[in-house]
């Protein structure tokens, strides 16, 4: 066996790699954050920090005139802050970074078109569903009649979304392109880079309404899944979950939930929808 003599710089690099690896293994041993009572902290500092979408009308977007974030999700956040009697601070999140932001305590709640599903429920806690929709597609008018028409298509969606996983399951041969958020996927659709954009119908309707040449596109009646939205809360914060849930139920019984829906999805809105759900207590 011949002995390879590494030059000194290589040797030092190998050594630093070894140190790096051992550093990581030390980290593995220690647990990383102390106990936190989010509800108590929120009350103490007098501010509720909520992660919301900032370019997804009508759920959350920056209003051109006021340069403020507004939308259906923001009204939900306002109701929770009001119930707690604290100030509301909005933080823009994307589909991909919302869970890390939540688990690391950068935000107290995530109200950002988040679908409740069992995999996620293992990592975070969810409120009762505050919105109900289903996953569909935006495509060029008249091009798509059945799901088979999209079999080998290029389909745009957002990183880290349930839409991304659902479409990969229902159309395994399609090429799924994940952007940082949905509007970029719509831009790609307009420029012919993808043939369809997929996500929840309520989001699609808002996006379609915003498209400059919207008469050329449509949302065909092809639903691939049901998507109930929940407010996401860090695992194990029962106090906060209870406050959020009671806020939602009170909104339903007082009629405020109806009003908020009507404001963003009513007949005079950019993307009218029917309210087919009621906020109810679930297990």
């Amino acid at each position: 066996m011949t002995c390879i003599q590494f030059p000194s710089k290589v040797q030092s690099k190998i050594q630093f790699l070894v140190v790096f690896v051992s550093l990581i293994s030390i980290l593995t041993g220690i647990s990383l954050a102390a106990h936190a009572d989010v509800l108590g902290d929120v009350k103490k500092k007098g501010t509720l920090v909520v992660g919301v979408k900032d370019s997804l009308p009508p759920f959350g977007y920056v209003d051109e005139k006021s340069r403020d974030i507004v939308g259906y999700d923001i009204d939900m956040a306002k109701a929770v802050a009001k119930k707690l009697g604290v100030k509301l601070e909005l933080k823009p999140v994307t589909s991909a970074n919302r869970f890390p932001m939540l688990s690391e305590g950068n935000v107290d709640l995530v109200i950002a078109t988040t679908t409740k599903n069992p995999e996620r429920a293992a990592q975070v806690d969810f409120s009762h569903a505050y919105f109900l929709t289903g996953q569909k597609f935006i495509v060029a008018k008249g091009k798509v009649k059945t799901l088979q028409d999209l079999d080998t298509a290029r389909i745009g969606t957002a990183k880290g979304s349930t839409s991304e996983k659902n479409v990969a399951t229902s159309l395994p041969k399609a090429k799924v392109l994940s952007y940082d958020d949905y509007p970029q996927a719509v831009l790609a659709l307009q420029q012919g880079k993808v043939q369809a954009v997929t996500t929840d119908e309520a989001i699609l309707a808002g996006l379609l309404a915003k498209m400059p040449n919207k008469d050329k596109y449509e949302i065909p009646d092809l639903k691939i899944s049901d998507e109930p939205y929940g407010i996401a809360i860090k695992k194990g914060e029962k106090g906060l979950v209870d406050v959020v849930n009671s806020t939602l139920l009170e909104m339903e019984s007082s009629g405020d939930a109806d009003k908020v829906f009507a404001q963003w999805f009513g007949p005079n809105s950019a993307a009218p929808l029917k309210r087919t759900f009621k906020i109810t207590a679930e297990k």
Binding site: S12, F16, A33, E64, R67, K91, V93, E104, N106
Partner: protein, 239 residues
């Protein structure tokens, strides 16, 4: 402008309608953003990484092996991975260590500072190594300690030579702040994607516009760095 508009059918009114948003983000209703935040991030991290680079650079040329080695390992690690990865790391690591609510702006500021310090340290190291050994020997033989030679003779000269490279690093930093977009910090690039996402019809105009903004800021500092470089070299030539 009219000329460009007529050739490509571009419409720069989207810039006019949102110029304040590009400049300061949601301020004063919300946090500061846009160009103002880009500059804040760049100035803040160049200040801290100047200090960090100096410290790391001095440690990296230390006579003591047990100081020099770990420091060089840290420097090489940060130079070996993409800035985007470094930002993600701090994004996970800082809140885990310091607990709840560590703001993203500080996360990005720290990531940029640590990353740039590693590069700055190489400038410092090269600057110190460029000073002829004779000066060290002369200093020591005239009765000064190594530390005194370093602080009173070597560093003042070395730092003067480093100034242009520092300014160049500052230009890189201004460009690097655009990566803050990925963790949702509303600097210029993030603000631009927000407007792009909202309007959905003017990507060319918007990205062209912010490219021009970055260009104007960066080339001003590039010009400054060249001037400083010319001055240092002519000063040396005169001696």
């Amino acid at each position: 402008m009219e000329f460009i508009n007529s050739i490509f059918g571009l419409d720069f009114s989207v810039i006019r309608d949102n110029w304040l948003f590009f400049l300061v983000g949601r301020y004063p209703n919300g946090p500061m953003g846009g160009v103002a935040l880009t500059l804040t991030l760049a100035v803040g991290s160049v200040f801290f990484s100047g200090i960090g680079g100096l410290i790391l650079g001095l440690l990296a040329v230390s006579q003591r092996r047990w100081v020099r080695w770990p420091v060089n390992i840290i420097i090489q690690t940060f130079r070996g991975v993409p800035l985007l990865m470094v930002i993600f790391w701090f994004y996970f690591f800082l809140p885990a260590v310091f607990g709840k609510g560590f703001p993203e702006i500080s996360t990005v500021l720290i990531a940029l500072t640590v990353f740039t310090s590693a590069y700055m340290s190489q400038i410092v190291k090269a600057g110190i190594e460029a000073i002829p050994r004779g000066q060290w020997e002369a200093g020591v033989s005239s009765g000064l300690s190594r530390r005194q030679v370093l602080w009173q003779i070597v560093l003042p000269q070395a730092l003067r030579h480093m100034i242009p490279s520092f300014v160049n690093q500052f230009v890189s930093l201004i460009k690097d702040t655009s990566l803050a977009f990925i963790v949702g910090v509303s600097e210029l690039t993030h603000v631009a994607t927000q407007v792009n996402n909202r309007t959905l019809n003017y990507p060319t105009e918007i990205f062209l516009f912010i490219a021009v903004v970055y260009f104007v800021i960066c080339s001003a500092f590039t010009a400054l760095s060249r001037q400083l470089e010319a001055r240092t070299t002519s000063a040396n030539a005169n001696r």
